[in-house]
Symmetry: C2
Subunit: 206 residues, 2 copies
């Protein structure tokens, strides 16, 4: 099975990269579909699931930040259910065949399937520019930066609940791709080749 | 001009990767040749130059670590001469045409030429295994680990003298390649493709 996971900084183009890479390799890319399946399982609206699963996940495991637990217990049953279901959905999708999975700690959740783990990053100016392109009216650089920092902080916190491998540190991944000043589509052919060779050499060893 | 620089952790296979990548792209790879040219310029033995240029370079710029300067001035004329010549040789070689340059802060020295900057790394076990393969009789894992840490520390220190971009941090590079458990030659074709596309998109922008 050839599973590619994509960790990414907010605004780095990781989602687009995952989609394009999957298209080039003629395999599915799972991103929004994970949310939709989880929502269906629990009879919740996809937007509600997305909002919850993107929020600071630490609040569902208050034992890891003890003082906060005592100060304001924030266990939310929806969140626990969603986190557990998300793992199950990711495993189910991965078992169906080769695929790309964007975010959601798939690198850790699927580690027994030996995925190729990519991390996509960029410098702050590039990320802000990318966000501004798709921003709604009135979003400012300052607002985007705040959102970016919060989301990346939440992603790191979520990752660190599942593993001692740090989110965003190169040691956690097989290849780290800087998209600063680049259009994603320019990198795809080379990445697809990289992935093909990486899996070929993996299979030779087995 | 298409210049590729390679930063690398000791034992990660960065030197081999540079050589193979250059061969695949049919361009020269400069590594030992830099040392030889510097040695010739100063009428020194290449081994002496190599030893000096790999030593803790901070000792040639004691002003950056003030207390050490006063405690034990360690300016060594050979070292200063060699560091300066090395930069000149690297610039001269790069101006001759497309090439790969391994180590020696070429990413910083050549920044005005817009090189593609790669960083090659691996987990400790892989690096030790790679070193043991080529080790002389009697070298132990412990000795290799000590050497590895010292050399990487020196490389980081050298890099930080020239720039505030940190050696080994992904933000400093365009692509970071984890060679753990891989043979270098398995990654070369994909990397060569990556480099070609990266430069193509760079030239489109100009």
């Amino acid at each position: 099975m050839r599973i590619i996971t994509i960790g990414r900084e907010f605004g780095s183009g990781g989602r687009e990269l995952g989609k394009r890479l999957a298209d080039t390799l003629h395999i599915p890319c799972y991103d929004r579909q994970i949310i939709e399946e989880v929502a269906k399982l629990h009879g919740l609206a996809p937007d509600h699931v997305e909002r919850i699963s993107e929020a600071d996940i630490r609040t569902i495991y208050p034992m890891t930040i003890g003082r906060r637990f005592y100060a304001a217990p924030m266990i939310n049953e929806d969140r626990v259910k969603i986190a557990v279901s998300q793992q199950e959905v990711i495993k189910k999708l991965a078992r169906q065949g080769d695929c790309v999975i964007v975010g959601r700690c798939a690198d850790i959740i699927l580690r027994d399937m030996h995925p190729l783990n990519l991390f996509v990053y960029a410098d702050e100016d590039s990320k802000v520019a990318r966000c501004l392109e798709r921003a709604e009216n009135g979003e400012t650089r300052k607002m985007i930066l705040q959102q970016m920092r919060k989301i990346d902080r939440d992603r790191a916190a979520f990752h660190e609940l599942l593993t001692d491998k740090k989110w965003g540190e190169k040691e956690t991944y097989h290849l780290c791709i800087n998209t600063s000043g680049k259009e994603i589509k320019q990198l795809i052919h080379a990445l697809a080749e990289y992935a093909r060779h990486w899996f070929d050499s993996q299979e030779e060893k087995m």
